[in-house]
Amino acid sequence: MTAVAQARIRKRVLPSPVTGQEVVLAGVIAALWAALAVGTPAFLTAGSVQPLLVATAPVALVGVGMTIVIITGGIDVSVGGAIMVCSVLTAKALVGADVGLGAAVLLSVAAGGVLGLVNGVLIAYGRVHAIIITFGTANLFMFLGLRIFGSGTVNGIPGTLAFFGRGPDGRTLGIPHAFLITLLITAAAWWWLRHTAGGRHFFAIGGDAQAARLAGVRVQRRVLLAYVLTGLLVGLASCFVIAQGTSTLDQSVGSGKELAVIAAVVIGGTSIMGGRGSVLGTLLGALLVQTVVSGVTQLGWRSQLSDLFVGIFIIVAVGADLLRARARRNR
């Protein structure tokens, strides 16, 4: 077989690097930014865009893990509870033991990994649908988080994590570190999912777990890995959450984040049925959601209206995807 033919086959096997959904999303975000720039002159300034990018980071970062989980045909609705556990644990360590930046990140990521491991073991080896297990562990994690909180809030958190925050310490050349890290991890995950056998296995499992198993994919280990990875990313994202907040952490931390992350993933074009999806789309989805949130506030509208637009965007994004799939079938 000639090199040209091999290259052609490789081209056919791999999906296109950027899906139609992502192009449309990028276009929609660009149009929104343009409209907002016209509507409120303050929008396209560093003082407005930088907080937007910082606020996008945690959702997009957890979204990378959630994308992989959903590609395998699963789902994880416990990430909100997991964010609560990781952030309160880390905040307590920052206040009580005055740990450094590295130790705090390590602690948070390790805690997230353990929580992800619990999910992964139960789902991969318990043979129960992921949504039921993670509904259960969501309650367990919230219990754990509230117990660590004790009775009130965590006060007087030092600025150790300012490296990830909104302030001037959190930026290099004007780019927020939190967003930069998210971007790098997204890029790495994009490469891993698209160009390595290990990454392609996730798609195989989501397409047909039985067929994947017969083809030699170690399905249970791969599924376990997907949830552990999500847990690790939750740990890192929790550091971002603490850094973006004030010096006080209250018990509502993480609440509702699981739905925000899932919204970003499905707006990004990942199929909830599994087997199809991309982390690039998830990043764009998170950016779109955050643009809507920040745009609604800057236009002086009621901030809760942003949820209405998020709902509409989910319907439009997934609806467009459904129509395209229908067109493909009829061709």
Partner: protein, 342 residues
């Protein structure tokens, strides 16, 4: 012996009944030993049933959509409770409608909101998780915006609190504890109606059929889309009724009634799954959902007495999560060993 184990594992209702007895007896023993902060007796158990009303009704609503199969689930029931509750607040509290038309209109509003879900899922083909996630956001937002974040608690709405008071039963009422009124006005009629719908009508048989096998049902000439659509409408209708109950309980139409904190959808799905409703559709019974509700309500009520301060509400989360995972793993085991739960 092995027969008894088999019965417990394969008959979800038997398992739930045993668990229920274990929970109640455990708390009675604790009570006698003086370990609880207040007496756990029949009066207390009866009074705690007030929280069973919305939980069981929403559990039944989730059961209907989960039964319909193809990943059926409704994340938006809590948001429907919020939005329909605001509608009820306006109609009854602000516009001075009489009570019955206001309740009917609220149920109708709930059914309409459910119909949006059903249309998206059944006719357009959205995955249920996504469609109801989107409408969850939309309804939640509308409920908050519609009255500028303000609750409606005018005089007529406040007087509705009588809906949730306890009453003495007629005839033999002196010998048994007083029971919350909501049980008779809302919960029992809903339970009976859903049971009749599922067990005694053609619609119920069609719903089980499309949940068990979508394709086979279509080839058998069943109007699959219409049947699935109606499941979401009924779920919305029940959520609308829950909205009335919730407004009565709070004595106020709160814009975040169904979505604050953990929301109402997640506990409702938990109750349905615990009650033996298979998440893949086609399997589930009304009695299971009712028993699961009683189990969780009486467990929670006991936990509240076993701890001081807000620790009790935290341990309720632990109990709910542990029971759900236990039941789910048991389902997995049963499927492998005996070929399924009934």
């Amino acid at each position: 012996m092995s027969r008894a184990v088999r019965l417990l594992l394969t008959q979800r209702i038997a398992l739930l009944a045993v668990l229920l007895v274990v929970v109640v007896v455990t708390f009675f023993i604790n009570d006698m030993g003086g370990y609880l902060t207040a007496p756990y007796d029949f009066d207390y158990m009866s009074a705690s049933l007030i929280s069973a009303v919305p939980l069981a009704m929403l559990g039944l609503a989730e059961m209907l959509v989960i039964l319909s199969g193809r990943g059926g689930i409704d994340l938006s029931v809590g948001a429907i409770v919020s939005l329909a509750g605001m509608g009820f607040g306006f109609a009854y509290g602000e516009w001075g409608w009489p009570l019955w038309p206001a309740i009917l209109a609220t149920a109708g509003l709930g059914a309409l909101l459910g119909a949006v879900n059903g249309f998206l899922v059944s006719y357009i083909g959205f995955p249920a998780l996504i469609a109801t996630l989107a409408t969850f956001y939309a309804y939640k937002s509308l409920a908050i915006v519609v009255n500028d974040q303000q609750p409606i608690s005018t005089a007529p709405v406040q007087e509705l609190f009588t809906l949730s008071k306890s009453v003495e039963l007629p005839l033999f009422g002196r010998y048994v504890p007083d029971v919350p009124l909501g049980i008779f006005t809302f919960l029992l009629p809903t339970v009976v109606a859903v049971w009749l719908l599922l067990a005694r009508t053609g619609y119920g048989r069609r719903l089980y059929a499309i949940g068990t096998n979508d394709v086979a049902a279509r080839w058998a000439g069943i109007p699959v889309r219409d049947t699935r659509f109606k499941a979401y409408v009924y779920a919305g209708l029940i959520s609308g009724l829950v909205a009335v109950v919730t407004v009565g309980q709070f004595a106020s139409a709160r814009p975040d009634a169904g979505v604050s904190g953990n929301g109402m959808a997640l506990p409702a799905i938990t109750i349905a799954v615990l009650g033996g409703v298979a998440i893949t559709g086609g399997i589930g019974r009304v009695a299971g959902v009712v028993l699961a509700t009683l189990l969780i309500v009486w467990l929670n009520a006991g936990i509240l007495l076993a701890f001081v301060g807000n620790e009790g509400s935290q341990y309720q989360l632990l109990a709910l999560g542990a029971v759900l995972i236990f039941a789910a793993l048991l389902n997995g085991l049963t499927n492998r060993k005996y070929g399924g739960t009934q």
